[in-house]
């Protein structure tokens, strides 16, 4: 069952995933080449110059990881939605088991862009002469990319697993919570002189700060570091 579900996911996700895999391979190469060419001319503190040049590329990688995870999650559910889940619902296994099979088989596909990042990072860093004190971390970098992509995959998979109505309700609920929470917290803080945190801050703290699940997206995504 798992092998066949993996096969199905591969068939439906490979083309949507292909551009992201190519970018995942090319982006570390491009980042390292651009940074190296920028620092070639630098005589004083070339290490610092290299790190500075690489930092420009930092936001692209978590963004790409998110896109890869989202592309995987949306692709594996796309046909089920189009056929109103009829095939899935008439298969002789409990729904949770079907969802678990689909989740697991889809998660394996997330490894493909992560391997592409690893390959790009390894090739790019192997051809580079690093200034003293700096090291390349292609495996750690690719692992971080994989984690970030997995988090996006899991979150989008959960959202996409429901009906369009459920997804709309969840997202609309979230937006309403943010808008009215923001207004409500502002009003209470003004009138009662309290210090209630705004919903956006609460959400940010819960999701983005350690140990929030999206914490992996923050910080410096440095392929080369001290």
């Amino acid at each position: 069952m798992f092998a066949q579900t993996l096969m199905l996911n591969w068939k439906v996700a490979r083309w949507p995933l292909l551009p992201f895999v190519l970018i995942a391979f090319g982006l570390p190469l491009l980042a390292l080449r651009m940074a190296a060419s920028f620092t070639d001319a630098v005589v004083f503190a070339p290490g610092r110059a290299l790190l500075g040049a690489l930092e420009i590329w930092t936001p692209f990688f978590p963004f790409l990881a998110f896109l890869c995870g989202a592309a995987c999650a949306l692709s594996v559910w796309a046909w089920d939605h189009r056929a109103n889940h009829v095939y899935a619902l008439t298969l002789p296994l409990p729904r949770w088991k079907y969802v678990l099979l689909k989740l697991g088989a889809g998660a394996l596909l997330v490894f493909i862009p992560a391997f592409a990042v690893l390959a790009g990072a390894l090739i790019g860093s192997s051809g580079l002469t690093l200034p003293d004190g700096l090291h390349a971390y292609p495996v750690t970098f690719a692992f971080r990319f994989l984690l970030a992509a997995m988090i996006a995959y899991a979150a989008i998979f959960a959202l996409a697993a429901g009906t369009q109505r459920t997804t709309t309700l969840v997202l609309a609920g979230l937006v309403l919570f943010m808008i009215f929470g923001e207004i409500g917290a502002g009003y209470l803080n003004d009138t009662l002189h309290t210090l209630l945190p705004a919903p956006f801050e609460l959400l940010e703290a819960a999701l983005l700060r350690w140990p929030g699940p999206f914490n992996v997206y923050g910080g410096n995504w440095m392929l080369i570091d001290v």
Partner: protein, 299 residues
């Protein structure tokens, strides 16, 4: 005789315009049960309720002895289903679709699947997205049959297919039923198609069961009776009157009645009329008259 499918007091509502009310259904094991109804009667919804795809608001349903709301996976293990619209993954080729389906059904019969594939002339390596409508229909029937189910649920399986493909598909189903003694629950609005193959019939209209009986009773018990004269009250009629229309030319009436037997002619003698002709109706006419009378009664 036990029932392969049983429903008692099933209720379901979708929006303001559609509901299924107090639906009872009995599909005897080993029968070919034709589930008739006009478009929008609720046939597909009933099937979705039976197979656990949609949740009923009330009532109880069992499929092969398993509760549809709690234990549907075990029922589905023994049930082959062909939905109204193609549901297969379009990215798969025919062979890949067969391999995928086989993975979920331990009773899958490889040899028979191959035989069906050859007899349906399905191309191994063509993607489902590239198959014709008829080929997709045949592939869905192949998948349902090759899992060797005890119950086949076919939702308008031949709708929109050309007569050749329709005949091939129905022949394959009938061959299987003859060999495996499976139960078939087939929904359709193509009455003539069901007339040839079914031994039980249920008629659904506006989410309500209008009639459910063996096909022989269905066909033989309903007659068109042409009368000379116009009888008065009907209180003590020994049959059910489905419709009654005046006949301008003969100054008489034409009645459609259910439960007719020949000695009942005497009833009209006492009612001030005489029977000129009693004629059989084909299944389609019976179907139309049943729907007409149930709609008149519902008003």
């Amino acid at each position: 005789m036990s029932n392969a499918i049983e429903a008692r007091g099933v209720a379901y509502r979708a929006g303001k315009n559609f509901e299924i009310r107090d639906l009872d259904l009995n599909v005897p094991s080993g029968s070919i049960y034709g589930f008739l109804g006009p478009n929008g009667a609720g046939k597909t919804t009933t099937i979705r309720l039976l197979l656990g795809m949609t949740r009923a608001a009330g009532g109880r349903m069992t499929v092969l002895g398993h509760d549809s709301s709690r234990d549907v996976a075990r029922a589905l293990q023994r049930t082959g289903y062909v939905p109204e619209r193609p549901h297969l993954y379009a990215a798969f080729t025919v062979d890949e679709a067969m391999r995928y389906h086989r993975a979920f059904y331990p009773s899958w019969d490889d040899a028979w699947a191959e035989k069906l594939k050859r007899s349906f002339a399905l191309p191994d390596d063509r993607r489902i997205a590239k198959l014709s409508k008829g080929e997709v229909g045949k592939l869905m029937i192949l998948l349902a049959l090759a899992q060797r189910p005890e119950l086949l649920v076919l939702d308008e399986p031949t709708d929109g297919l050309d007569p050749m493909i329709r005949r091939d598909a129905l022949s394959a189903v009938l061959d299987y039923v003859a060999e495996a003694r499976a139960t078939v629950f087939i929904s359709s609005h193509l009455v003539h198609e069901l007339e040839r193959i079914c031994d039980w019939v249920g008629v659904l209209d506006h989410g309500q069961m209008v009639a459910e009986m063996p096909i022989e009773s269905f066909k033989n018990g309903v007659k068109r009776v042409r009368l000379q004269g116009s009888p008065g009250a009907l209180d003590d009629a020994p049959f059910a009157v489905l419709s009654r229309t005046p006949d301008q030319l003969t100054a008489g009436e034409t009645w459609i009645v259910r439960g007719w037997q020949d000695p009942m002619r005497q009833y009209f003698d006492h009612a001030g009329a005489s029977v000129r002709e009693v004629a059989d109706l084909d299944l389609e006419e019976v179907f139309v008259e049943l729907l007409r009378s149930s709609r008149v009664a519902a008003r």
